[in-house]
Symmetry: C2
Subunit: 215 residues, 2 copies
DNA sequence: TGACAACGTGAGCGATTACTCATATACAAT
DNA sequence: ATTGTATATGAGTAATCGCTCACGTTGTCA
């Protein structure tokens, strides 16, 4: 289940299938436009046109432009939550090796990214100011928190602050370097994937695997 | 000297000191506003007001808003060019250890970043689309190119494509994780600096130091 | 079938945008 | 002092923005 971060304020929750489909179409359109044109430079009228609907319909459900962004981020949060959940669920006893964990976590993430190149670009390039920061930050925090909890089980004697910092480094590194693993045309670049895993594995070896105890 | 990338189109090159000072004031104002409010959300009238000048004066020198962004990036390019230049010049015979090189490259970069927290935030959070991509990409490319040339001297038998990819990974990692080394209040976080260097050092050891020969 | 609610629609509103231009002032030359 | 050029100014313009609202259309009850 999604935690209580980042509530998505809808002006009116749809009570018919039409409404749900319209919302999905609007989000799909906004996803494409935000990724290509950027959040600020994309107009709500553009979104409505791209979604083959009227501007009035858009504002039937979304109170303002930022709500669209927040709803989009919520969708990403759901998908990435599922990815991480599958990884953690597949290793309940903490038996998998770091390489296996990296494969199981990064490969679906990269697939998700490559499916439509511009899909995750939105999240990855969100500005850290204004609407972007308010909408994007909870996503990273949620992942860091859940990943850190699992790492804590593996390395119980580590200093929590330093462990959380290491986890955050990993998450931010993935977030920053994921675009390198895919071409703008949506083709996965295996060398870049290898290199990213190499970097993460190297960092895990020298940092996570040898975290000093508290004190 | 700066290479011929990213030409900055000025409507009129200033021929008096007044003009040069105005341009500097406009760039300083834009730097602050872009970092806090974002590029798109910052209006040219805001920039003029913040620079204590009239909107007309702004357009005396800059043909449009994007030209301001490009001029700003050119300033960053100059400063970061100098940082990298100092590192390379301090090690003409390739004698320094990786740790020394990391210290000499990252410490001034972090200082530059912390001097004003929002200063480099602009560059680091530039969206990869629209005006941002056109303005920001040459900077990364320039650094990758010059760093790769030096690495090529150290590891002459490496496959060029893989070597360049490794260098790009390092540059993008620094670019992405630099914000973690400084608090929003401008205080350097030494633990984060240590962690960033640890990750880069680990990657260098497993990748750059053992690049396979061409084939 | 009638009635009410959910949903669809787009012209248009006030606000804001990037940018212009006619005009005024400061400087550098003779 | 005079002339020419560089710079300063801000009211104004066309365009675009996020968003509203009055009025249709579709769906869901009875």
């Amino acid at each position: 289940m999604i935690s209580d971060v980042s509530p998505v304020p809808l002006r009116r929750r749809p009570r018919q299938v039409r409404g749900q489909q319209r919302i999905a179409a609007i989000l799909d359109a906004a996803e494409r436009l935000f990724a290509v044109t950027g959040y600020e430079a994309t107009s709500t009228n553009q979104i409505a046109t791209e979604a083959h609907t009227a501007i009035g319909s858009l504002y039937q459900f979304f109170p303002n432009k930022e709500a669209i962004l927040r709803a989009l981020v919520a969708r990403y949060q759901q998908r990435m939550h599922d990815v991480l959940e599958n990884v953690l669920a597949a290793d309940p006893q903490d038996e998998l090796s770091p390489d296996e964990l990296l494969d199981r976590a990064l490969d679906p993430l990269i697939t998700l990214y490559a499916r439509g190149y511009h899909t995750l670009t939105l999240f990855l390039t969100l500005p850290r100011t204004g609407d972007g920061a308010r909408a994007g930050q909870p996503l990273v925090e949620d992942i860091v928190r859940r990943l850190d909890a699992r790492v804590a089980r593996r390395v119980p004697n580590a200093d929590p602050a330093r462990r959380e910092l290491a986890v955050r480094m990993i998450v931010e590194t993935v977030r920053a370097l994921l675009p390198l693993t895919t071409t703008p045309e949506g083709q996965v670049r295996p060398e870049a994937v290898t290199e990213l895993k190499r970097m993460l594995r190297a960092y895990i070896d020298v940092s996570l695997a040898s975290l000093p105890p508290t004190g």
